[in-house]
Symmetry: C2
Subunit: 240 residues, 2 copies
DNA sequence: TATCGTAAAGTGAGATCACAGTTTTATGGG
DNA sequence: CCCATAAAACTGTGATCTCACTTTACGATA
């Protein structure tokens, strides 16, 4: 377990503190991004002192950042030891999050479509193309990164900060799972079909079609996640 | 300003620490409830040391609790002093939150209606009756309390923890405003019409009607909030 | 009287330490 | 070889202190 955790932390590296912002805010932002990107596995524990040592600060700002992430649902207190770990979602929670995503991301997409101009559309298409290439070559890291960029570019165009923040909160919760689901070979092609449909709707300015494509993408992803979670839970039981 | 803040804090009183839970968690829960209930006015500043003195703890657990509330959107960092205060929402943010509420609470209500049994329905009707009585007598505190209970009882019946938590986050943001909007005399009667329609839909088991009633309530409340916000913003400008 | 400057009080941020648990590891006896 | 037991290591929690900075208050001066 020790080596496994070091692998996750190695992607972060020591935090070069930028003045003008608090250490706590930088740690929070970096860890939030890392969790969304799936750098931490579900169930992985995060120690205050070890995180502080890796990031090069004391435990105080780390604790505040982790507490914020707990409040966001990106971490949870685990055992009698009260150690913080990446949550292991249940099937019920996954369905819950899926439906929230359908409501919010579908709405955000419909709202955004009329605010997306030519330059924005070019960025989105670019992200979609990169994602397609990542799917073809089987590059999971690149796929996940461009997938998040593709979606967030669309939603952010709606110009709604609270909505965007809430959607990010949902990605924060499913982020650690996505990397596991992406191993399914069928996922790439099914997902890209939805993405191409969304891109097409963006070009034609069809809000309903865009919303439907986004909802389809979320539903299929949740379906793949649910299947890969079964194996994960069995693994957890065997460990315990 | 000093007296005004003392008024807000007086509703809380010294925190009788319960063992078995951390001080930080108790402070967080109490402050979150207080903000949702509208005990703090928009723009009101919260000092770490003063809060710690009132609650009877050191600044450490208070800071973590406030940081969590900031992450939830219930507080925001204000000036160059980085003091935490209750956010002053803009019209844009209010519209943003309104639409999120429409999506999520409408969905939650539709999901909950088939899970609400006779005993739950009796609690909901009871809350609605109390709210009606509070509207008749003009008791704002009682009205706000029963209003939150009425809505939360419905949503909680859906059995979706993440959804419930997300909805609470929206109430946390508009909580400080609601008390100001409630002064509008027209608000009570308009709001109660929606509530009675919702209660009626619950009895007949009409999911669409319930969803429509909830959406109507949210829309009207946001309309009243928007109007009362104009006066608030002018007041803010005069202060600055 | 108005204004500028200085001092005092207040602010959050972060490091450090002590403490009470739990978990893990090592160790010794069977 | 296995199991029980003790000790060592590790966990979060909370208090305290220093620091840098901002805001406020006060008084001297023009």
């Amino acid at each position: 377990m020790h080596n496994a955790e070091r692998d996750s932390w190695s992607r972060l590296g020591p935090l070069a503190l930028i003045e003008g912002s608090t250490a706590q805010a930088q740690i929070y932002a970096r860890l939030r991004e890392a969790i969304i990107s799936g750098y931490f596995r579900p169930g992985e524990e995060i120690s205050l002192r070890r995180a502080a040592a890796v990031l090069g600060t004391s435990v105080t700002p780390v604790r505040e950042a982790l507490r914020q992430l707990e409040s966001d649902g990106g971490l949870e207190v685990f055992g009698g030891n009260r150690v913080l770990r990446v949550p292991i979602l249940t099937q019920t929670q996954l369905v819950d999050i899926r439906d929230i995503r359908i409501q919010l991301e579908g709405f955000a997409a419909a709202q955004a479509i009329h605010a997306i101009g030519a330059p924005q559309l070019r960025l989105i298409s670019n992200a979609c193309a990169i994602m397609q290439r990542a799917a073809d070559t089987g590059d999971a890291d690149l796929y996940l990164e461009s997938n998040w960029r593709f979606h967030s570019l669309i939603y952010r165009a709606a110009g709604r900060a609270v909505l965007m923040n809430t959607i990010e909160g949902m990605w924060l919760r499913v982020g650690p799972l996505i990397r596991q689901a992406v191993t399914a070979p069928l996922h790439f092609q099914r997902s890209m079909a939805s993405h191409r449909a969304a891109e097409q709707a963006l070009h034609t300015g069809d809000a309903s079609a865009l919303q439907a494509a986004i909802i389809c993408d979320i539903s299929e992803a949740a379906s793949d996640l649910g299947q890969s979670m079964q194996g994960l839970e069995e693994k957890e039981i065997s460990v315990a």
